[in-house]
């Protein structure tokens, strides 16, 4: 019997966050199916996609993990928990089980430190990078970082571990650049935000950032439009920048900005292949006209990273029967250049990624995209910005050191 590459997919197609979980899961699924249909898998070895529904719930995530991790024949090659809560559960577990975890743009930021977290990856960027980039972008728009002094920047955040992520970075930045930082928490699920936006109306911040999720995003954007807050001064994290978030606000959302580490749209060659091999063959789970949505592309790029890591592993270990440990090696040596991306049908889709033993967060660059309400389209409006290493790096160092101390981990040597 032929070897198969087990790739679990932790979906959440039910529960309060399903609207976001569905496109992501579809993107992930479609890309892998496309590989199977077009190339017979990765380097000819078929991918066995194991779906498991977590409903974005930590406990169900744990159950999924335990259920899929030892799936024959290869065991789970790489796990994408798709929820910060689940990621935290899996960090210690997967490290013991020796299964690589890729929390792409979420999870524990300090996992960027590969020395402390040999099994955890969070490239291409972390929340702290995102926060830093927002500050940079604002500085640029204000005509220079020095002009940040005396400005007021609010953060509307989901009152959870996820939402609280950028606070430290922003506090540090506020200290450094002299702007006033104003955090405003919104409770789950976030249907009622009147108080928050009344405060914003009163305090009149110059900029508002948002770390939101699910229905909270939609309501926030609507409220912002209602109080006539200028949309081009309203920045959402990459999880607050999908079609779902802006569509309900209609024209009011026009000009809204969000972070991104990949392009939106379905006009890349890979999408054509997906339509041809997956949709035309009736293997799709989603609807054709939703291909290329922001979260769809995010699922797709996650699949690309994972499969490239597997390809890498095959090359490095010179076998087609890779194991999770080999995939970890493959991931640690990932070098996804623009040329390779073009080969994959993703020209100009995202920035190149290079992972090393000690850097599991990769390039840590973020771009900004903007919503055009009349065309109902997102489009990238900036280049990729670098993070602010002087602010973020010490934070990563500090937190990973704390983790290492708490758990008696001796950071490995990466040379």
């Amino acid at each position: 019997s032929a070897y198969e590459l087990v790739m679990p997919s932790f979906d959440y197609r039910t529960g309060p966050y399903a609207p976001n979980g569905i496109p992501f899961a579809n993107g992930y699924h479609d890309y892998l199916m496309m590989l199977n249909e077009r190339d017979g898998g990765i380097e000819g070895v078929p991918v066995k996609l194991v779906q498991c529904e977590t409903a974005y719930n930590t406990k169900q995530g744990v159950e999924c993990y335990e259920k899929v991790k030892d799936t024959d024949p290869s065991r789970a090659l790489v796990v994408q928990p798709l929820s910060t809560g689940i990621t935290y559960q899996l960090i210690p577990k997967a490290s013991v089980d020796e299964i690589p975890v890729h929390s792409m743009g979420y999870g524990r930021t300090s996992a960027a430190n590969g020395k402390v977290f040999p099994w955890i990856f969070n490239f291409p960027a972390t929340y702290w990078d995102q926060a830093a980039v927002f500050v940079k972008y604002i500085g640029e728009k204000e005509g220079g970082m020095e002009n940040l002094k005396g400005k007021k920047i609010a953060l509307v955040y989901h009152n959870s571990a996820y939402g609280k992520e950028p606070i430290r970075t922003l506090e540090k930045a506020a200290e450094k650049f002299g702007f006033e930082f104003m955090p405003l928490a919104v409770d789950h699920p976030g249907q009622e935000q009147k108080a928050t936006w009344l405060q914003i109306r009163k305090e009149q911040p110059d900029w508002v950032m948002m770390w939101g999720w699910g229905v909270m995003n939609q309501v926030a954007i609507k409220e912002a439009a209602s109080i006539r807050f200028p949309m081009d001064r309203f920045l959402g994290v990459w999880w607050s920048g999908s079609e779902n978030d802006v569509l309900p606000a209609g024209d009011g959302a026009n000009g809204y900005l969000s972070g991104a580490f990949h392009a939106p749209g379905d006009n890349f060659p890979v999408h054509d292949d997906i339509k041809k091999y997956v949709y035309d063959n009736g293997k799709a789970l989603g609807e054709r006209d939703r291909i290329g949505e922001v979260l769809y592309n995010r699922g797709l790029i996650a699949a690309v990273y994972a499969t490239e890591a597997i390809r890498n592993a095959m090359k490095m270990h010179n076998t087609k029967e890779v194991t999770p440990a080999m995939v970890r090696d493959g991931m640690e040596a990932l070098d996804l250049t623009e040329a390779r991306l073009t080969e994959l049908g993703l020209p100009d889709f995202t920035i190149p990624v290079k992972i090393t033993c000690d850097n599991h967060a990769g390039p840590r660059k973020v771009a900004i995209q903007q919503w055009d309400a009349s065309a109902k389209k997102w489009s990238m409006v900036t280049d990729f910005y670098d993070t602010m290493n002087d602010i973020v790096d010490p934070l990563i160092e500090e937190d990973s050191a704390a983790y290492a101390a708490e758990n008696n981990i001796k950071p490995r040597d990466c040379n």
């Binding site: 197609r13 039910t14 529960g15 309060p16 399903a18 609207p19 569905i22 009152n159 955090p183 405003l184 928490a185 919104v186 409770d187 699920p189 976030g190 249907q191 009622e192 009147k194 108080a195 928050t196 009344l198 405060q199 109306r201 009163k202 699910g214 229905v215 939609q218 309501v219 609507k222 439009a225 209602s226 109080i227 006539r228 779902n244 569509l247 309900p248 209609g250 009011g252």
Partner: protein, 311 residues
């Protein structure tokens, strides 16, 4: 006007409006509780379900569209949804409540939890879990006139909600206090068996109440759905309706609205003025604490029926 004062006013108005929105959900609870002593955990899901059904009748891409190739105009969709809610009420009576006459409140409560699961699952299967922007032509956004002339921020949708709520509450209150059926409903809530013995048909009564409460759920679903899109989270607003319900009293229709206003204003003022001091997001527990504080003085809620304690 003094900007501080203006802002305070704005907060109060915002609170009142939010309160009305909660009250719409709370109202559905009250109806069912008053008429059968059932604490209907599924009320939130019923709002969701109603909104989903409504969306499906009128939006392109829904079942109706796919099967028959056309969609209904708003008014027809609303009428059809009402029919759906009535059928739902009938089904609930036929397959659940009928068997649970004279059980303790907590058992009935549990049954409605089962119901919530069923509705959620069926809703998911039928309509999918995507966000559905609901637009039945209600005005959206802030009132420009108030914003331009008085620098006062008031959502138009919420004004509509307030008017609707006022009408609903008046009609329902009259219905309960003045009519034969209203009296029968209260009798049923007191003692199922005795109600049966005087010839009240629990089945009819229950179908009526659950239908009415389904219609109220539709109204709440429309308002909240217009505000934040129709999606699963809609069912969670029930949690915001709870303190309202408790404060107003489980058995009082006007209580739902007064409770809503108090909670709305209270929590907004707390969040805006107190929140920043302690780190924010205190709205939720504050609403409950507020309700608790009232209960300590009136254990049956502001307008609830006195709890009879006798030996």
């Amino acid at each position: 006007m003094n900007p501080e004062l203006l802002f305070f006013l704005e907060t109060v108005i915002g609170g009142l409006m939010a309160g009305v929105m909660y009250a719409l959900v709370a109202l559905g609870f009250v109806l069912i509780f008053k008429a059968s002593g059932i604490f209907n955990f599924a009320q939130g899901v019923m709002c969701l379900f109603a909104a989903l059904a409504l969306y499906d009748f009128m939006a392109p891409g829904g079942w109706v569209d796919r099967w028959f190739g056309f969609t209904f105009p708003v008014w027809a969709a609303i009428a059809l949804t009402i029919v759906v809610m009535i059928i739902l009420a009938w089904v609930i009576e036929r397959f659940v409540l009928q068997y649970l006459v004279q059980q303790e409140p907590i058992i009935l409560f549990m049954a409605t939890i089962g119901l919530a699961y069923v509705l959620e699952g069926v809703g998911d299967i039928l309509f999918g879990s995507d966000v559905k922007p609901l637009d039945i032509g209600l005005p959206q956004g802030a009132s420009d006139w108030l914003l331009d002339n008085f620098n006062l921020y008031v959502e138009k949708l919420e004004v509509v909600a307030a008017v609707t709520a006022a009408v609903l509450v008046t009609v329902l209150a009259v219905f309960f206090q003045r009519t034969r059926i209203g009296r029968a409903l209260r009798a049923v809530a007191d003692d199922h068996q005795a109600a049966l013995s005087v010839g009240i048909s629990l089945r009819t009564i229950w179908v009526i109440v659950w239908s009415v409460s389904g219609i109220v759920a539709l109204v709440a679903g429309i308002m909240w759905g217009s505000k934040s899109g129709v999606q699963f989270s809609l069912s969670l607003i029930a949690l915001k309706a709870l303190p309202v319900l408790i404060l107003g009293g489980f058995t009082s229709v006007p209580g739902a609205i007064v409770g809503g206003l108090i909670i709305g204003v209270g929590e907004k003022i707390a969040e805006v003025y107190l929140g920043p001091l302690v780190g924010g997001a205190i709205e939720n527990w504050f609403a409950y604490m507020l309700a608790l504080a009232f209960l300590l003085f009136r254990p049956q809620g502001l307008f609830g029926e006195r709890i009879i304690e006798r030996v």
